[in-house]
Symmetry: C2
Subunit: 509 residues, 2 copies
């Protein structure tokens, strides 16, 4: 990535300038979004949202402008491509993709959609609070309609839903996901059944109680520091829905949510978002200010959050090192709980209604349900009105439980209110990528578990930086996974990992 | 201000849209500035500054665009003006003023200046820290040169320095300021001399010590709440240099700086910025989103911060109410200090080197020194190189003391590093406006002091809202002062106020 060439071509120079401006506006928008979610005074939010909308629309306008089209046309000519360095070439390619997609949307339609989704997020919050799906349904129906219209404008790839998948995971298709999810189901459902019939449920009583919030904060900060999160290039705050946002590689912000009666919620939330943050903080400096300075796909991004949260953060090796520190933070509360007992407790498997509280194993079943529903919406014309019924039936079928209310059913996730259809599969893709990457790490470094148990997390972080983080968007998801592991994405690594882990925890023999 | 007319004229509609966009960008820039000063991670500041510069330049471009020129030309025609409501008319007038001024600056020159001043602020911080004036001098010389060039481009009004004064206090001139400052000097210097020769210095020993920062924070918040600062429409944070910024009327942010060994620094800082904030929070809702939604001048703005800080916050009536609460916050530390003793302590008069730590009386001498130096720079060609010598000579002459270093002399203030020449007089103008306004308040409501002593600050805030705050930029400074007090700005009110206050405190008979 060192071949940054002189922009002797004035059109190349202008292209760099324009993409940099777009990136800078995105950085500013991310800062404003963070502010609105973490501490902006309530009464200023209305005007702030409007200002945010105006700058968003301007950013969209720049990225779809006639000037951008001309620059891309010029720089995509064979003789021009040949003269480009690797970064410019990739940036032209990626920008062109977004340009082609976005310029198919009439700006007025896009602006209407931005306004709709920004209203819909509040409507969803309200509907969830009041368990009032009918109050949210009209918004959702409109958002679905917009997306159907977008698919039409963008052009159907394979199936209509494929067009949406491609936004979050470039190149991903329903046929590929059907296969991957089918494989997962075939191995994970029997595993979950075996666990359920085993009956020997780990003790989790010690995870409930009253845990000093200040101590929780200290411990989250401590763990993040040990993971290699750079607090001079980021910060940790609180918000209702935890998130991570990379403003630039020197300013990556994560949030979590502390619950006094729950020891693990904020902690694993912090580690999860911390994984996203390690990615964003370690993108190569030469990509800063380009549109390539971001994660390559949501699947790869989730692979890093879930690798750190689960494969590191919920491993016995990790807690062998850090459990005494946790005990120290809550004097008297965990004295009679051994590390093995703690490890079993944080890995209990149980069918549950809420995705973000699900264990590592059943989590994927939650994702499959959403994936199937989204497919039905866009490939089979399922309407917003029918969603609660379909949702509840699928939970009954896959997990054997039915939500007592829409608030803990179809209304639980923020994604659809923002129009993020096609995003959910990223979580399971992330789990699969993570397992495949972690498997490789352990092959290359057989003492990895021991080093983690010794508190040495830096070697893992550095290896992931080398293989994933520093590349930003210079490599596609498939290039990332193939260059690290030598093969394309496989479901088997996740299945193997989960089987090994849970057979041991549940003594399934 | 209720006559908002329909924008049946498409050019009026477009003008509203464009000015709203500029205002929205200014709101976003203010949020980013606040973030950079309060908690943005160190390593992200470089790229953030660049992004900030890009959006600033775009905002400047919008406000000087050919389109803006055409809209203003159209809306300034007699028949168009007649059709405008009061808000539109005033906004056309004010926007035209900025347009005329800004379009005289070549955009490239402006951009260079933005970059220079943003670098200069860091250079100044470093130079101040290291007491290295020569390290800052080249920046300052360039900034002065830019401003000389700007004055030339803008056109000289009266004297060159008048052109700069007009930016911060529309209509203000050196001849007017010479007169006002001359009057102040004639009465305040003898007063300061009388105090110095009195020798009976109030005890201030109890203001030094170790004061719990958490308790200081609680007390600042308590006082702000009682002043009527709306924490649902604002927040209080910490920064190295305290400031107030109104993002929109529903989001006004102030900062202060807590020192463990100084009880009053953060407290009066909070009240000062709180005064600015009351102004911004109480601008009429119908001005939101227009360029009139801001204070009318820096002088009027400072009148509000200094009115609340000094005429309310350093009054005996105020402390009769709030002193017991302060004592409670610092148990054991102020038990033996009576309220009268405390009041005398926080009002000690002493020639000092640092403006922001100066008492109410000598504060104005600090301002006069800066005013005279700025006049010399722009009207007599004084160079950056000569500044330390002139500075020290003026302090010797006016206050009888000489800085031991440039750090506590010519380098003490941030203003010049940002190019804010012509700003300093605002502080003394603020003091004069404040005294004249407060005098009127007491005439209209003879029991004002008693009500303050009873902790009732709302009536004062509401009266100021009616007379000052709600108008935003709909009225000019002279219209504000005349409509409230029935006369133009006079120095006598400030002199009377200070004489009365200090004769009593120092028992000058």
């Amino acid at each position: 990535m060192s071949d940054i060439k002189d922009a002797s071509d004035p059109k190349l120079e202008r292209f760099r300038e324009l993409t940099k401006q777009i990136k800078q506006y995105e950085e500013i928008l991310a800062a404003i979004y963070w502010d609105m979610r973490t501490g902006a005074p309530r009464k200023g939010i209305g005007l702030r949202s409007e200002a945010y909308g105006t700058l968003s629309a301007e950013t969209f306008r720049l990225s779809t402008s006639a000037e951008m089209g001309e620059l891309l046309d010029h720089l995509s000519q064979p003789e021009a491509i040949g003269a480009l360095g690797a970064i410019d070439r990739k940036q032209v390619e990626e920008t062109r993709k977004d340009y082609e997609r976005n310029r198919k949307l009439p700006p007025e339609l896009y602006r209407e959609y931005v306004v709709l989704t920004s209203q819909a997020e509040s409507a969803w919050e309200e509907a969830k609070r009041r368990d009032d799906y009918p109050g949210f349904e009209p918004y959702l129906e409109k958002i679905i309609d917009f997306n159907r219209k977008f698919i039409e404008l963008w052009g159907v790839k394979g199936t209509p839903y494929d067009t949406l998948l491609d936004i979050y995971e470039p190149g991903m298709t329903t046929s590929e996901l059907d296969r991957l999810f089918g494989e997962l189901r075939a191995r994970l459902v029997p595993l979950a059944d075996a666990i359920a019939s085993r009956g020997d449920k780990p003790d989790t009583s010690f995870l409930r109680g009253t845990f000093d919030i200040a101590a929780q904060k200290r411990f989250s900060k401590f763990i993040l520091t040990r993971m290699g999160f750079d607090f001079e290039a980021g910060r940790l705050d609180e918000s209702v829905h935890p998130f991570a946002t990379g403003l630039n590689p020197g300013d990556v912000r994560i949030t979590t949510r502390y619950l006094a009666d729950d020891l693990t919620s904020a902690l694993f939330g912090s580690i999860h978002e911390g994984g996203h943050a390690l990615y964003e903080q370690n993108i190569a400096p030469e990509l800063a200010g380009t549109l390539l300075c971001t994660g390559t796909s949501m699947g790869i991004h989730e692979s890093q959050s879930r690798l750190w949260e689960n494969m590191v953060g919920r491993s016995l090796s990790f807690w062998k090192q850090f459990y005494p520190e946790l005990q120290k933070q809550f004097p008297g509360q965990l004295d009679n709980v051994g590390v093995e007992q703690f490890y079993r407790g944080i890995n209990v498997v149980e069918p549950s209604l809420i995705r973000i509280e699900a264990d590592e194993l059943t989590y994927n079943l939650h994702i499959m349900i959403r994936y199937e529903i989204e497919k039905m919406i866009f490939n089979e014309g399922l309407s917003a009105k029918e969603l609660p019924e379909v949702w509840n039936a699928k939970y009954k079928e896959a997990l054997g439980i039915v939500p007592g209310s829409d608030a803990e059913g179809v209304l639980q996730d923020v994604h659809w209110s923002g129009g993020s259809f096609g995003y959910f599969p990223s979580y399971s893709l992330g789990n699969m990528y993570a397992a495949q990457i972690m498997n490789k790490a352990k092959t290359l470094r057989p003492d990895l578990e021991e080093r983690i148990a010794a508190g040495e997390l830096a070697p893992l972080k550095e290896w992931l930086t080398e293989g994933v983080y520093r590349h930003g968007k210079m490599k596609n998801p498939s290039e990332i996974i193939e260059s690290i592991t030598g093969e394309s994405l496989k479901s088997a690594f996740l299945c193997d990992y989960l089987e090994t882990k849970y057979r041991e925890i549940y003594r399934l023999g």
